[in-house]
């Protein structure tokens, strides 16, 4: 019944990588358009999870409906952050670094004061499936399929939809896109909303597997940061590749080195990659 460890590494690398992927996609796309990392991105992750918790616990909504509402709320919150906080600072990118960070601290502190003292949990998608003799919660498959769907839809959106194409154009160059008759600020609004939806979706998908505390947004944010640096800012394919490299490297290092060093080993890898290839794996040289 008990199988050797390589199967575990393989399976859980794929699962973990897919969670990294869903979260990093929105971050990367927004980073590409705005040219600025949105450090309040992790707050949207916790926001959607808290909203879903509140809707299911206090109002008694169906989990699916609650999840959709929560994701929408995260998208709108992201839009609001973009309008109020990021837009005035676009001329001064460094200042956005501080303001978005301040927003993240406000969210954290707010939930700490308002949402009580305990971590919250959300129900897991029920059932267990055996893969290669390994028991795996069906929730992991839900995450895997959702992240695949989200990756494909973003790729299609960027490639075929008019708005998606404008996003790519703006990410390429703001001045160039203005000349093509695209309003970069309008595109930025769309990018903020889509990014918020992706962060929110990760929140409602991933929280059932862990417990949620007000500080839970920081870990994913740093991971997304590292993955985007590795994959190249704004590159969807790069994010896909980088997520899987990150996931596999982290999971296998856990077995080689123990968890303490393993959590930072991908970061060291990224530093080495960036020194030799500063624009990331799939990024363009500016």
């Amino acid at each position: 019944m008990y199988v050797d460890i390589y199967k575990y590494i393989l399976l859980f690398s794929i699962f973990h990588s897919s969670t990294y992927l869903t979260f990093s996609l929105g971050f990367s796309m927004l980073f590409g358009v705005a040219k600025i990392p949105n450090l309040a991105y992790g707050s949207l992750y916790i926001l959607s999870a808290y909203v879903m918790y509140a809707l299911t616990t206090y109002i008694g909504l169906e989990p699916l409906v609650a999840a959709l509402v929560a994701i929408l709320v995260a998208g709108l919150a992201s839009l609001l952050i973009g309008e109020v906080v990021v837009k005035p600072g676009l001329k001064m990118p460094v200042s956005v670094f501080i303001t978005t960070l301040s927003v993240a601290y406000i969210f954290e502190e707010f939930f700490r004061i308002e949402m009580g003292l305990r971590p919250i949990t959300l129900p897991v998608y029920p059932g267990v499936t055996y893969v290669l003799g390994v028991p795996v919660s069906n929730h992991w498959f839900l995450i895997l399929s959702a992240s695949l769907l989200m990756f494909l839809s973003l790729t299609a959106f960027l490639k075929y939809a008019v708005l998606g194409r404008s996003i790519r154009a703006v990410a390429e160059s703001w001045d160039e896109s203005r000349r093509l008759g695209i309003d970069p600020l309008k595109v930025l609004r769309v990018a903020f909303f889509v990014a918020g939806v992706y962060a929110g979706a990760t929140g409602v998908l991933l929280t059932p597997l862990k417990a949620l505390t007000p500080t839970a947004g920081w870990g994913p944010l740093f991971t997304a940061f590292a993955i985007v640096a590795l994959g190249g800012v704004g590159s969807v394919t790069g994010t896909l590749i980088a997520s899987f490299i990150y996931g596999f490297f982290e999971q296998s290092m856990t077995y080689v080195l123990g968890s303490g060093v393993a959590s930072i080993s991908p970061l060291i890898l990224i530093v080495l990659v960036l020194v030799f290839r500063p624009q990331g794996l799939m990024g363009r040289v500016e």
Partner: protein, 339 residues
């Protein structure tokens, strides 16, 4: 970012130097004015953070290469001090001095390969360095030697001497000596930074920030300028780190965590106005003291209030409000004097 330059005249001297001297006089005399040890302690910290603020402003504020690894340099100086003291038995007074070149050397060695990287990737890379350092210090095999969460304990600066004093004077002696050391470091640091910032070298740094290719075209060796600028910046952060750590053992990862030792000075630089030196210096005192005062006024809500305040200030004037205000105040004063 243009800086206001005017011909020196007696008028400017009055307007320019007198506020500086008054500020200096106030800071020098504060300990004699019934200032409790807690506030003296806060001011000591703020004085030392001025050096970190200047470190960021001198390099990142002029070249626009955002070096987020400053907190690594700061903390590394603290850890070098503690390691020299704990494992080699060197007294804190000397290990503090040794720690400074060690930390500068390691910062250069680690971040030098990244200096050729441009734009946002340099910022990302430099931010990863302190995060990795925190990971290493708290990870299992290394934490045994580096103290892990609890940190490395050592004798704080002048503690042996203080113990030889009568009990009632000990604390006063330590607090006053720390305060005046930090004040001296802040004043000397600021004067030197000002000289560098507006020297020929300072203009080369600014030229790199404006347009690197153009600067190269005019015959500036941009890499050399960046390396020297980085060296100066690291020296500031190292001095600040070594002094700060020597005054409050144990050294812990708190020294390296960007939220503690990077974000407050970086905020000062942005609120103060990049590359203006005087703006960030004033902002450094205003912001850090405001944060401490808020605890007495609104307790736990201070984080939210402070962050909202920051957002509002930065959103109104992303280029930095303090320097603008300073220039306006000078204009106003000059107007008053010329009547």
């Amino acid at each position: 970012m243009s800086v206001v330059f005017a011909k020196r005249s007696a008028k400017d001297l009055i307007v320019g130097k007198i506020p500086f001297l008054i500020a200096l006089a106030v800071l020098t005399l504060l300990p004699l004015l019934n200032v409790g040890g807690f506030w003296l302690d806060v001011l000591t910290k703020v004085n030392l953070f001025l050096l970190v603020t200047l470190a960021i402003d001198l390099y990142s504020g002029t070249t626009y290469y955002l070096n987020l690894g400053v907190s690594f340099t700061f903390g590394f100086a603290g850890y070098s001090l503690a390691l020299l003291n704990v494992y080699y038995g060197i007294p804190t007074e000397y290990s503090m001095l040794l720690a400074i070149p060690i930390s500068i050397f390691f910062s250069l060695a680690i971040l030098l390969p990244s200096l050729k990287i441009r734009g946002v990737y340099f910022a990302i890379l430099s931010l990863l360095v302190p995060i990795i350092f925190v990971g290493i210090v708290t990870a299992q095999p290394f934490s045994l030697y580096l103290g892990g969460e609890g940190g490395l304990r050592f004798k704080q600066l002048f503690l042996d001497f203080a113990r030889s004093l009568p009990p009632g004077v000990r604390l006063t002696f330590l607090q006053y000596s720390y305060y005046y050391i930090s004040l001296a470091a802040a004043v000397v640091g600021y004067v030197i930074a000002y000289k560098i910032g507006f020297s020929d070298f300072g203009f080369m740094l600014r030229a790199v920030g404006q347009d690197e290719e153009l600067a190269e075209g005019t015959g500036i060796n941009t890499l050399k300028v960046k390396v020297i600028g980085f060296l100066i910046s690291s020296a500031y952060a190292s001095v600040a780190g070594a002094l700060y750590a020597s005054m409050r053992p144990p050294v812990t990862v708190d020294l390296v965590v960007p939220a503690n030792t990077l974000i407050p000075p970086l905020t000062s630089v942005i609120v103060g106005g990049l590359g203006t030196l005087i703006g960030p210096a004033i902002a450094n005192y205003l912001l850090l003291l405001t944060y401490e005062l808020l605890w007495g006024l609104i307790g736990r809500w201070r984080v939210i209030a402070y962050m909202l305040l920051l957002i509002i200030i930065i959103t109104i004037k992303p280029q930095g409000i303090v320097f603008k205000a300073y220039v306006e105040a000078r204009k106003f004063l000059r107007g008053v004097f010329s009547e």
